[in-house]
């Protein structure tokens, strides 16, 4: 479904990704793991069109998207839940959800879709008039995921959805990710919580200083001695 092929990405003159390649197939949950500064966020931002690769290509179902502007890429079917949630300060939960359906193709069955995301995160239902940035971290993450889902993506990318959340809330968020995947959503997940992420995903890629150094089935990686010592603290 999504193919990232040998991309090189720079911040100014500093290279952040080196010949990075990976793919996500229809219906999979794929995880990108790696320590701080490995290039996970950079990879996701490049797919979203917030950064553009200097060389290499990115395709979604065969269609090139590495030259398209970010809003077009959302329209093509890739949504991102950004690191740090990035909700619009001062905007109510209701307005945030409404704006989630901004794309013309998402407006069509807006009411039904908003009802659907509220059934995934019932806690948001009681907070519709509250300003998004005054909610708890967990609620904000739920809203950020809802906003992304409302653009009706084929592929949902989540950048560290568990960051700064209490363990129960993390469970809750991961349950929802599993649930929407079972309903057919393809998922690309970035996580520091490697144990959790490998448990949830089908396959994984390990990034180190901008290079893909390992890849494979999540189960196999969980038993890989190097992965164990570097990321699982075993």
């Amino acid at each position: 479904m999504l193919t990232v092929n040998n991309i090189n990405v720079f911040y100014g003159s500093v290279q952040a990704l080196w010949d990075v390649s990976f793919e996500v197939k229809q219906g999979e949950i794929v995880t990108l793991v790696g320590s701080n500064g490995a290039g996970k966020t950079t990879s996701i931002k490049t797919i979203s069109g917030l950064l553009s690769p200097q060389s290499g290509s990115i395709t979604l179902n065969g269609e090139r998207l590495d030259k398209a502007p970010a809003h077009k890429i959302v329209d093509m079917g890739i949504a991102q839940v950004p690191e740090g949630r990035r909700l619009w300060a001062g905007m109510s939960v209701r307005d945030t959800l409404e704006l989630g359906t901004y794309l013309p193709r998402a407006r069509a069955d807006k009411a039904k879709n908003i009802e659907w995301v509220l059934s995934l995160f019932p806690r948001l239902k009681e907070r519709l008039s509250q300003a998004a940035d005054t909610m708890s971290g967990g609620e904000q993450q739920m809203l950020a995921i809802s906003r992304a889902l409302l653009s009706k993506p084929k592929l949902l990318m989540l950048d560290e959805p568990s960051l700064g959340l209490a363990p129960v809330i993390v469970e809750n968020v991961f349950d929802v990710i599993r649930q929407i995947n079972q309903q057919g959503m393809t998922i690309l997940l970035v996580e520091q919580n490697v144990n959790h992420a490998l448990n949830l995903s089908t396959r994984a890629y390990v990034l180190e200083t901008g290079h893909v150094v390992k890849s494979g089935n999540s189960v196999d990686l969980m038993n890989d001695p190097q992965v164990k010592s570097a990321y699982l603290g075993l």
Binding site: S48, P69, H71, D75, R86, L87, G90, Y102, S151
Partner: protein, 306 residues
């Protein structure tokens, strides 16, 4: 009237009749309506694009001339906004797509100089076309007043007030109730998150810029009904607009309204104690005081955080 309010000055006791007080208060509210309209365009453009549009003053001035010029062609100054405002909206959009888009990527000093330059060009254009004579629009309605008990209200000022409020309320409804309007707010709050929701930020920036310019043009049309103007017109109003947005805290609608009321009250009441020629200084003094004492504006006091 026997009822009097006394205000203690350091040396004198200044007495102001209740009638005078009421009239000054009413005048302040009417002025505040115009001031809010005039400054909201500046606040909108700053909020969405983080650009300080110094050419705001030039738009006020040229829109006033536009109304004047249409009047000489026989078009009522009350209808002029329907021609002048859409025109400026269009100019704003073209501007954004051609020049401003590039300026946004540069350091703030570049955009300040850019807009200052545009303002100078507008002034020179006005000198060239309209000459330096002071113009004003007068017709039978100019001096019309209504008496409401002790209140004496000028018809044109009432029209200006209600027209301004109508524009601001419509804009507010647009910003809170429509996709495009909400997209403008999203862009102001977090542009990258807006792009990730499928919002074409170039298009929405242009819309916001066009609206900001259109609102300035509308304020200019309204000003032509009650002020005399020449090509320098707009300078003191630019400063007043700054004062209001700083008072109100940037990017907040209620804040701008509050700031406008504060400035209008300060101006109208101060002329009781000092020469009218110094009235334009009030906004400057207020601006400095606010910047030194409550840099985040009145809204920060209301929210209890400073």
């Amino acid at each position: 009237m026997c009822f009097q309010i006394s205000i203690l000055n350091s040396q004198f006791q200044i007495l102001m009749s209740f009638d005078t007080f009421l009239n000054l208060f009413a005048a302040s509210i009417l002025t505040a309506g115009l001031y809010a309209t005039m400054s909201y365009g500046l606040a909108l453009i700053y909020g969405v694009m983080k650009l300080t549009n110094l050419s705001h003053a030039g738009v006020l001035m040229l829109a006033a001339y536009g109304t004047y010029w249409l009047n000489t062609l026989g078009i009522s100054p009350y209808l002029a906004p329907f021609i002048v405002v859409p025109l400026w909206f269009g100019i704003g959009i073209v501007w954004q797509h051609t020049l401003v888009k590039r300026i946004m990527l540069m350091p703030p000093i570049a955009s300040l100089l850019f807009f200052f330059g545009i303002w100078l060009i507008m002034q020179n254009f006005a000198y060239l076309v309209f000459k330096s004579d002071i113009r004003s629009i007068t017709n039978e309605a100019t001096l019309l007043t209504y008496k409401l008990g002790p209140l004496v209200l000028s018809q044109n000022r009432l029209i200006v007030f209600f027209a301004g409020i109508t524009a601001l309320v419509s804009l507010q409804l647009f910003l809170t109730r429509t996709y495009q309007g909400r997209a403008i707010r999203a862009l102001a709050a977090d542009a990258e998150a807006a792009r990730l929701s499928g919002i074409d930020t170039d298009r929405i920036s242009a819309l916001a810029f066009g609206l900001g310019i259109a609102l300035a043009a509308f304020a200019g049309c309204l000003m032509a009904l009650i002020f005399a103007f020449d090509p320098e017109f707009g300078r003191s109003h630019l400063l007043k607009s700054f004062c209001i947005v700083v008072l109100g805290g940037l990017e907040s609608f209620v804040g701008v309204a509050l700031g406008a009321i504060m400035l209008a009250l300060a101006e109208n009441f101060s002329i009781q104690f000092m020469p009218a020629a110094l009235q334009d200084m009030v906004s400057f003094v207020l601006l400095v005081i606010v910047l030194l004492t409550i840099p985040n504006g009145l809204m920060s006091l209301l929210k209890g955080k400073k």
